[in-house]
Symmetry: C2
């Protein structure tokens, strides 16, 4: 199981509370995207890979990253994908990472957050969507491919939401406070504020499409 | 032109900087959703309509809202739509509001933010999506139906992103720093960090589907 932590340039004050242990657990494969690569260095770690156009960073900031990182990929914002799409390509396709946690992906600028959330809908990433978890201070986002998925209560999170970004068939929520009988949705939709029944797991299933689960807290 | 401001229960520290003038401009039709209704009262205004299950509010908080609001709609979280969908139904369908600004809809809990963003994809709201603007401290979100849309630079916003939540045909971006030749996308996608060319307007067109524009700033 190859794991990695990708640090994107989103608001640092929204990083999950346990970010230090995420850095430790993934110290062998930290990926910095744009300003996220500098943040890895500032936290005292070395990025295994840094990528981006780095245009929001000063020369001395970029030098700090270049000194501590064995592989840099410079993107061209006119020709290339967005930096977070390049990151997914590098992590999932080039390096075969199969447990990718992403921080700095949510909150702040919504155009950035939506790039990060929607990228997994692209055909080239879709099959690997389950390998990716987006985490911030209040949320943990998992993607679900067709099949049956058992969710367990997660300490610290009071709620979970279920939704679909691509059209889904047979989306079902069983064992939760609010259940959903098998339903098809041709458009993206989200159901918020669902809750676990104490001591009971929740089963989410779908036959087609892409669903997502957001564990969240106030 | 009937206008309204809806205040949802999302993080108050992410309200747009000009929220006081938004309250003033819409003082005749303020809509409070759940805890948002209390915030309207706390800002010294009276909601024209309040709706929600209000289960996160104390009795005395709810009493404050009830005293100052001529119409309350109590939702049932088991049977009903989410509160923000009920708000859209009330504003757009029941009251025929055609310029609806929404604050407290983004940031914080992602399950809530996604409900608010994706609701406009529902068939019953889709045709009216252009009437709705979501605003927070860093972002202003507009929805675009098929046709040609001319965007102008917006003071205070350095960037804009263009995306689609529903499949789109013929999505085109002209006159911007990064252009897009007419393209079809079967899956939702976002392009972030686009910029206006100084003094030049941007034209976004699509033939089918639903696009969105996010004006954003760091």
């Amino acid at each position: 199981m190859a794991r990695a932590l990708a640090v994107l340039g989103g608001p640092q004050d929204l990083w999950p509370q346990n970010f230090k242990s995420l850095f430790e657990q993934n110290r062998d494969f930290l990926i910095g995207v744009d300003r996220g690569s500098l943040r890895i260095v500032e936290e005292g770690f070395k990025p295994r890979l840094a990528l981006g156009d780095f245009d929001s960073m000063s020369k001395s900031e970029l030098a700090k990253v270049e000194q501590s990182c064995p592989e840099l990929r410079y993107s061209n914002p006119v020709k290339d994908d967005t930096d977070s799409e390049l990151m997914l390509e590098a992590a999932l396709l080039d390096y075969g990472i199969d447990d990718l946690t992403v921080i700095g992906a949510l909150g702040g600028r919504l155009d950035h957050s939506l790039v990060n959330l929607l990228a997994l809908c692209e055909p080239r990433f879709l099959k690997m969507a389950e390998k990716v978890t987006l985490v911030d201070k209040q949320n943990e986002v998992h993607f679900l491919l067709p099949g049956e998925h058992v969710l367990k209560e997660k300490p610290g999170y009071s709620y979970f939401g279920v939704g679909n970004l691509l059209p889904v068939e047979g989306l079902t929520i069983q064992g939760a406070r609010y259940e959903l009988a098998s339903s098809d949705f041709a458009y993206p939709k989200m159901w918020s504020s669902n809750e676990f029944v104490p001591g009971q797991s929740v089963t989410i299933s779908l036959q087609k499409g892409l669903a997502l689960v957001v564990y969240s807290r106030d």
